[in-house]
Subunit: 193 residues, 2 copies
Amino acid sequence: MAKRGKINQRQRILEEAAKLFKAKGFAGTSMRDLGGEVGMEAASIYNHVRSKDEILESICFYVSDTYVSQLAEVEQTATSYKDKIQVLIRQHIRLMLEDGAAVSVANNDWKYLTGDKLTAFKDARKRYEHGFAALIEQGIAAGELQPVNVSVALFTILSAVRWVELWYRPGRGVSAEELEQNILTMLLNGLAV
Amino acid sequence: MAKRGKINQRQRILEEAAKLFKAKGFAGTSMRDLGGEVGMEAASIYNHVRSKDEILESICFYVSDTYVSQLAEVEQTATSYKDKIQVLIRQHIRLMLEDGAAVSVANNDWKYLTGDKLTAFKDARKRYEHGFAALIEQGIAAGELQPVNVSVALFTILSAVRWVELWYRPGRGVSAEELEQNILTMLLNGLAV
DNA sequence: TCCATAAACTAACGTTTGTTAGTTTTTATA
DNA sequence: TATAAAAACTAACAAACGTTAGTTTATGGA
């Protein structure tokens, strides 16, 4: 019984798939492409994975589950709203640095999910957005934040953080710490002096 | 000679293609899908268009050409750097509201361009980014802007503006004018009070 | 009304796709 | 070392893909 090897291979397949989906999109990546990257025939992949769709589902829900549980954690800490939002932004950036390919797939290729999985993913995302928006709203009500339109603030934050995954390379002269600090400055204090 | 009809049909094909590419991705959209949307057989599309690739090219370069010429225009106006950046952000938002599907394709599906077209598109984008970054840099040097990392500021702006196309629907209670104003507030003044 | 051309159609092509079936090789344990 | 399970392989499938060829229909100017 070589159960150990099986889950490791599955993990490798998911990781290579995330990289390929990020680079060429879900629909633009074939199982033969993936096989080539993993080092086996396309047909052999099915020893580790039920279908191409299941690969996408695993990647997308890994990411959405992570976000949702990070939000839940932040919600029940006893800090200011401004701090909570700051922590959430930091966590976004960190997940992106650690698992950029998976985050990219969850951001861009979730639309290829089908049936229950598609609705479940959209629901999870909506719950996350509502929770995040509530924190902003309460922060404004508490006078910690500017009275800007909540949706605008939410989506500006969520997408401002996305570029990290397209742009950041370690060894570009900016450390992860600096990066976080600069983005937080931009989003919280703005560009104007 | 009915040349008139031909270019109108071509335009319709490009517009429907942009919508489909946005919704399902370039690789996820078939010529038969497109034919269905336009109201003709897939083969008939080739009376108006050389190939599926050419459709993508037309959409992507329409967008990049627009951005590049908008930048050129802003560069030679005699205003403050802060104003120039504000105008560029406004123009981003407007193009997104007017031609959201095309912008979305240029943002997400440019990677399916091939050969010269791919490098030409990447070059155009790079020139745009450098020009924008130069304005930020000069704005900081002139003391009009905070001394934040220029790349971080640039990409935060460029991607913060992207969500508009995913989220904005006229009749969501936010007018285009309010939207612009709120985004500018977020990016220039920040969320914190 | 006739005619040239534009623009639609049908049919088919060679590939590539995701996936299955059946077989062989590798691997871990008894 | 024998054995059973795991994980690789080859071969093939039906469907969908972009595109071409050849044909028919629609259209606008002489």
